[in-house]
């Protein structure tokens, strides 16, 4: 019945439904968590508005994508949204710098407690949610164009002679490539440039950094700009891969926070590791293993149930449980982030 070796089929099945989606989702989470972790490292609060910043960036990008599409501008095989991304980033930078100037700066000057900032970010989130829903509405938005697949499952089957196919969607490849480029650029920036070095210094020891003549306002401004770039890209990649729904971004907050905390708040490398840990656990625990086991096990042992550890509705529970475990066992996270 089945073509090709069963083991290979099982492997391809797993790659198609677990590994590829998890890598894609993990990249999106990693970009989101990087933004949260940067804000935490420099401004020292958990930014609840981050999910809606992602939504805002994605929204602006989508609006410009529509405009470009109506002008007949296209990006060949790639989605037009990538062309509009810089514009989206620009708008997000403006709005983040504006919120910092109007909201956060005053409290930084009077040295408020971190929890005050968390509350402020909730207020900002409220405003941004309202703004996004007001401008684009609460519904699903369609803006994707360009080629949908790099290669399709059917072509792969023919090529490999297996009964299981592997499909690579262009949104998945774009997510992975863009994430790699962006992360590389970010690390280069943090390690090699003067602004990046002063950011790290400020994050490690604020007073010492101030003593050595680092201008805190510049550091904060650069942080918001980086956050805008990361958030907009993460939001757009997520919308390209799944779809753009404003309320989803609020729900993404939990896995994003979990990623940042698992890796260690304030540690960029930790945010990336955390993103992939959360994504892989989420996908692995909610995947239905029945077909996979049918390939691997002898016929007499084939499972009758779905062999699903957790129903997909509970995928948020996964990030929560990992979060709780990390808080219980190692509150500073894998990479020894900012302490409790």
């Amino acid at each position: 019945m089945t073509e090709g070796p069963e083991f290979l089929n099982a492997l391809i099945l797993l790659s198609n439904y677990v590994v590829l989606p998890a890598i894609t989702y993990g990249s999106q989470l990693a970009l989101g968590a990087l933004g949260v972790t940067l804000v935490f490292g420099i401004l020292r609060f958990s930014n609840f508005a981050h999910g809606d910043t992602m939504a805002f960036g994605a929204m602006v990008t989508i609006l410009f994508t529509w405009w470009f599409q109506s002008l007949g501008i296209s990006f060949g095989q790639l989605p037009t949204a990538l062309l509009a991304l810089p514009v989206g980033i620009l708008f997000t930078i403006v709005i983040l710098l504006l919120t910092d100037r109007l909201v956060y700066r005053y409290y930084r000057r009077i040295k408020s407690k971190p929890i005050t900032f968390v509350m402020l970010s909730v207020g900002v989130m409220f405003v941004m949610t309202g703004l996004v829903r007001f401008i684009i509405g609460p519904k699903d938005q369609n803006f994707a164009d360009g080629a949908r697949f790099i290669f399709k499952a059917r072509d792969f089957k023919k090529w490999a002679g297996l009964s299981e196919g592997l499909a690579l969607r262009s949104s998945q490849l774009i997510t992975i490539v863009v994430t790699m480029l962006l992360v590389a650029a970010l690390f280069w920036f943090l390690q090699k440039t003067k602004a990046g070095k002063s950011m790290r210094a400020y994050s490690d020891n604020e007073e010492l950094a101030l003593l050595s003549g680092i201008n805190p306002d510049t550091v904060v401004r650069v942080t918001w700009i980086l956050t805008a770039v990361l958030a907009t890209t993460a939001g757009l990649l997520y919308s390209l891969d799944k779809s753009f729904k404003p309320f989803v971004f609020f729900q993404l907050l939990l896995p994003i926070f979990a990623s940042a905390i698992v890796g260690g708040l304030g540690k960029p490398i930790g945010a990336i590791a955390g993103g992939f840990i959360i994504a892989f656990s989420e996908v692995c625990l909610t995947y239905v293993y029945r077909k996979f086991l049918i390939y691997l096990l002898p016929e007499s042992m084939e499972p009758e149930t779905l062999v699903q550890l957790l129903s997909t509705e509970y995928k948020f529970a996964v990030s929560f449980i990992i979060l709780v475990l990390v808080l219980l066992i190692a509150p500073t996270g894998l990479f020894k982030g900012k302490v409790v």
Partner: protein, 455 residues
């Protein structure tokens, strides 16, 4: 204006606004708003206990509200005996296994001591318990959900009076709060916020998907009520007499048939208002009790200790106060009050609809209430609950009207205008966010600031 007079004046203004709604729109609308104002005030009191007294930031109010809501269903609905027969025993077994398993894991963890592989062994034990529970739970839930799914398909409740569920709601929320608090309260303050955000999402997805317990998104309607039904009222003679006495002037001078018709109309209208007044009375009683307890607590030595911990944790700890213990207490108490309010809300709705809980309405709006009203001040929270709920409700028609006026220059059929009118309802989210930020910046104490020291 002397500070002492301030509460009276603002509450008088609030009452006047409700009266205006009564005269201009209708008394029924005004009472609907009043009832939800009362529930909101209780929720705000609960959050004020956490934030105002102790500085704990709870972003999961929605979850505790929903737990209160599910308590109504579990306490007051009649049990479904068919479902209990097919799956009740096994489900009970699953629950017992879960509890025993959890205790066993904790004992194992402690008994293992400092020997090697402590965490690995604990993890394995947890996984074993999970699969054991799952093996009982899976078939049981399938069996229960298969019992007449269009009508029941769940276990039902205990069939007790619905008022009891308000207490149960508080207890349920308190239990959840204890768990969360135990894990996160001795960590950085942000972590409590993130953890409560998570638990709220999980509670909602549990309530939406555990059909055997709550019917999930199929909703449970027709919950028992603590007040009489409108239809019964319209048929009972004492109520018709009451309506007659109230409307003697309007009814006088009408012919017999006209009079009977008019009376029927009036008693239909009156029954709705009467029911809402009953709810308002009940809610008022609960609010008074909780408010009195809160005030007593806040002005007791215990309350002073809590505020001392909030204002200077290190100093309080140095004075020998158990900071984490007190915080846990406060967190549980506040969540319990929110749970009670959640149960009241579901009772008022008469149905349990897990799909309608959304964080903007059930978490962040409550926050705006507490901050605007005056965090740390119980009267302030009540005022915030009233004021913000009133604005939230009345902002929608006002927003739509405003959009209508602003876009009146455009072609009525244009897509832009239609979209603006469609999305106008989201303006109030923005308005609430801006209000929150403005109050925090320019009047951090809120309308009725916390009273500190002796004046």
């Amino acid at each position: 204006m002397k500070p002492k007079q301030r509460p009276f004046i603002v509450f008088a203004i609030m009452a006047a606004m409700l009266l205006i709604v009564g005269f201009v729109q209708s008394w029924s609308v005004a009472l609907v708003i009043l009832n939800l104002c009362l529930v909101s005030a209780i929720m705000a009191l609960g959050v004020n206990i956490q934030w105002g007294y102790a500085g704990l930031f709870n972003v999961g109010i929605m979850g505790f509200t929903a737990l209160g809501g599910v308590a109504v269903l579990l306490v007051s609905m009649a049990p479904v005996s068919a479902a209990l027969e097919v799956g009740g025993g096994q489900m009970a077994l699953a629950a017992v296994t879960l509890i025993v398993g959890c205790i066993a894991v904790v004992i194992l963890y402690r008994a293992w001591g400092e020997r090697l592989f402590r965490k690995t062994v604990t993890c394995l034990a947890v996984i074993a318990v999970f699969f054991l529970v799952h093996s009982f739970y899976g078939p049981a839930s399938d069996a229960i959900e298969a019992v007449d799914p269009a009508k029941t398909g769940y276990l039902g409740g205990l069939g007790l009076p619905v008022i009891l569920s308000w207490v149960a709601g508080g207890l349920l929320a308190a239990g959840a709060a204890w768990l969360i608090g135990k894990i996160t309260l001795d960590l950085r303050t942000d972590y409590l916020a993130i953890a409560t955000l998570g638990i709220a999402e999980i509670i909602i997805s549990l309530l939406k998907n555990e059909d055997w317990l709550t019917r999930g998104v199929k909703n449970v309607t027709g919950l028992p009520r603590p007040v009489p039904f409108e239809l019964d009222l319209q048929e009972s003679p004492w109520f018709i007499d009451l309506v007659e006495t109230f409307n003697r002037g309007a009814l006088a001078g009408l012919g017999n048939t006209e009079r009977a018709d008019a009376l029927r109309m009036l008693s239909m209208e009156g029954s709705g208002i009467f029911v809402k007044l009953c709810y308002a009375g009940l809610f008022m009683i609960v609010l008074t009790i909780i408010f009195t307890l809160c005030s007593l607590a806040l002005h007791s030595p215990w309350g002073r200790m809590i505020r001392a911990i909030r204002d200077n944790e290190t100093a309080a700890a140095a004075m020998g106060k158990n900071v984490t213990g007190r915080r846990l207490q406060i967190f549980v108490l506040g969540s319990a009050v929110v749970g009670i309010a959640g149960a009241m809300l579901t009772t008022l709705d008469g149905q349990f609809t897990p799909g309608t809980y959304n964080p903007l309405r059930y978490t962040f709006l409550i926050w705006v209430m507490v901050v605007v009203g005056g965090s740390g001040n119980n009267l302030g929270s009540i005022l915030g609950g009233f004021l913000i709920w009133f604005v939230w409700i009345e902002a929608e028609p006002v927003g739509i009207w405003l959009m209508d006026v602003l876009t009146s220059g455009f072609d009525p059929a244009s897509e832009f205008r239609a979209r603006m009118l469609d999305n106008a309802q989201y303006m109030r989210l923005m308005v609430m966010g801006v209000v929150l930020l403005l109050v925090m910046r320019f009047s951090p104490g809120g309308i009725l600031p916390e009273k500190t020291g002796h004046r």
